[in-house]
């Protein structure tokens, strides 16, 4: 088969028909056009109207800010209390953790100028899209959370853990070129059964919030988690110069490594 045919077949496999997309596009453009006409019309007001409108808008904005702050703070307290996140770190069996920590962090070797030994897409777990890992831990999602001057790119990484034996899983990560270990922080933008662990190494400011950095994270034993917490999302910072790194998972009876990164600085940007 030709390269053209191979590429077409490969992409067609992940391109289901987008039924009705034309209608949705048409509706969005028409709605946007109406919205813009309304805003132009609203702009033609007398100076008095504008003054009162401005004061009213300020008061409304202040009220919204107060409401949102109340909801966020209240929601977090409620969520943490409901899901037991407040007690998660302390609920980790420290003896089990120390045993796992005693295992050396062995990152794959990346020679200068060498190609990053990316883990292959194993397409396991009956998922559509990239799934990395041979098991029992699988990475299926990753997204940027923001960039800081101090640490670089903070990202969230989502895993499935198909546990065969009870027990926690220790997660550590590091740059394959510099051998530098990455700091972890507690992911708080949603429920997660993963906990940042180990001593506090320092703090960083991300999106206006102070976050505490730890040397590692722990995936909780799935059998001990409430269903809502069974998402395993860890959050860690990747230095700006890093292109290739690895996670090491140490759990009951297994050690697994997943290598991931960017192919070049441009695609990372």
């Amino acid at each position: 088969m030709s390269l053209r045919t191979d590429i077409k077949d490969a992409i067609d496999d992940v391109t289901p028909p987008a039924l009705g997309l034309e209608n949705r596009v048409r509706a969005m453009v028409l709605a946007d056009g109406k919205e813009r006409r309304v805003s132009v019309h609203v702009g033609r007001r007398s100076p008095w109207n504008i003054r009162f409108r401005g004061m009213g808008a300020l008061a409304a904005a202040a009220l919204v800010v107060v409401l949102i702050a109340g909801l966020v703070i209240g929601g977090r307290v409620w969520r943490d209390a409901a899901n037991g996140n407040l007690g998660q770190a302390s609920s980790i069996n420290q003896s089990d953790l120390h045993k796992l920590e005693s295992k050396a962090l062995v990152l794959p070797v990346l020679l200068p100028g060498g190609v990053c030994p990316f883990s292959p897409d194993t397409r396991q777990l009956g998922m559509q899209g990239t799934v990395l890992g041979d098991g029992p831990v699988y990475m299926y999602d990753a997204w940027a959370l923001g960039t800081t001057v101090q640490q670089g790119d903070w990202g969230a990484f989502a895993f499935y853990y198909v546990a065969k034996d009870p027990g926690i899983v220790l997660v550590r990560a590091g740059d394959l070129a510099t051998r530098q270990a990455f700091p972890f922080a507690q992911y708080s933008d949603g429920t997660t059964g993963a906990v940042a662990a180990g001593p506090v190494l320092g703090t960083d400011r991300l999106n206006g919030e102070t976050i505490r950095m730890h040397p590692e994270a722990v995936l909780q034993d799935p059998s001990r988690l409430k269903p809502l917490n069974q998402q395993l999302i860890v959050m860690f910072a990747i230095p700006r110069a890093t292109l290739c790194w690895a996670f090491q998972f140490d759990g009951p009876g297994f050690t697994e490594t997943i290598v991931w990164g960017w192919d070049d600085a441009q695609s990372k940007a």
């Binding site: 053209r4 391109t15 987008a18 034309e22 056009g33 396991q124 009956g126 999602d141």
Partner: protein
């Protein structure tokens, strides 16, 4: 393809604009799918790009270039989406136990090709997708990629060498 009844695109209304855009929606969706390998994200990209295009339609001076102009917006949105989203897989029901997807050869080959495409940088992948998947000429690819024809050709050759190191370029281009 629909044509605008006005002399300049800048004075076009929503209806005429969407008539012009609708034939480009499926190519745009295929481009976004090829770049992101995520059909849900691709649909979002096409819708967002359509609104961006509508808001910028005044900058389109030559109606005959609407395809490359619009696909350029889609490509740029794909780049932005990739920056935000590093990796994603869509669950087809929560996995209760480990199951390996189809072992059919074509699927395995397809996965290999997609993996190889993902290893390319955004710019290299874009020219590959436009040339091999959407069958576009290099001149139009250069416009979409906002580069020169020579640079687009260089990217294409470089990408082919990475995808198929043993293949002669002329043979791969067929």
């Amino acid at each position: 393809m629909a044509t605008l009844t006005v002399r300049t695109v800048s004075s076009v209304n929503e209806q005429a604009f969407t008539d012009l855009l609708v034939p480009l929606v499926q190519p745009a969706y295929r481009l976004a799918c090829a770049m992101l390998h995520d059909s849900g994200a691709a649909e979002d990209i096409v819708q967002d790009a359509s609104v961006i295009a509508w808001r910028k339609v005044g900058k389109l001076n030559d109606q005959s270039k609407v395809r490359s102009w619009f696909l350029g917006i889609v490509a740029n949105e794909c780049r932005n989406a990739r920056r935000r989203r590093w990796l994603t897989a869509v669950t087809i029901g929560l996995p209760s136990e480990l199951s390996v997807l189809s072992g059919e050869n074509r699927t395995v080959n397809g996965a290999d090709v997609r993996h190889a495409l993902r290893q390319l940088s955004h710019d290299d992948r874009l020219v590959v997708v436009l040339y091999f998947y959407l069958d576009m000429p290099v001149e139009e690819i250069a416009t979409i990629a906002r580069t020169s024809v020579g640079a687009a050709r260089t990217r294409l050759y470089r990408a082919i060498r990475r995808l198929r190191p043993d293949m002669v370029i002329e043979e791969a281009l067929r």
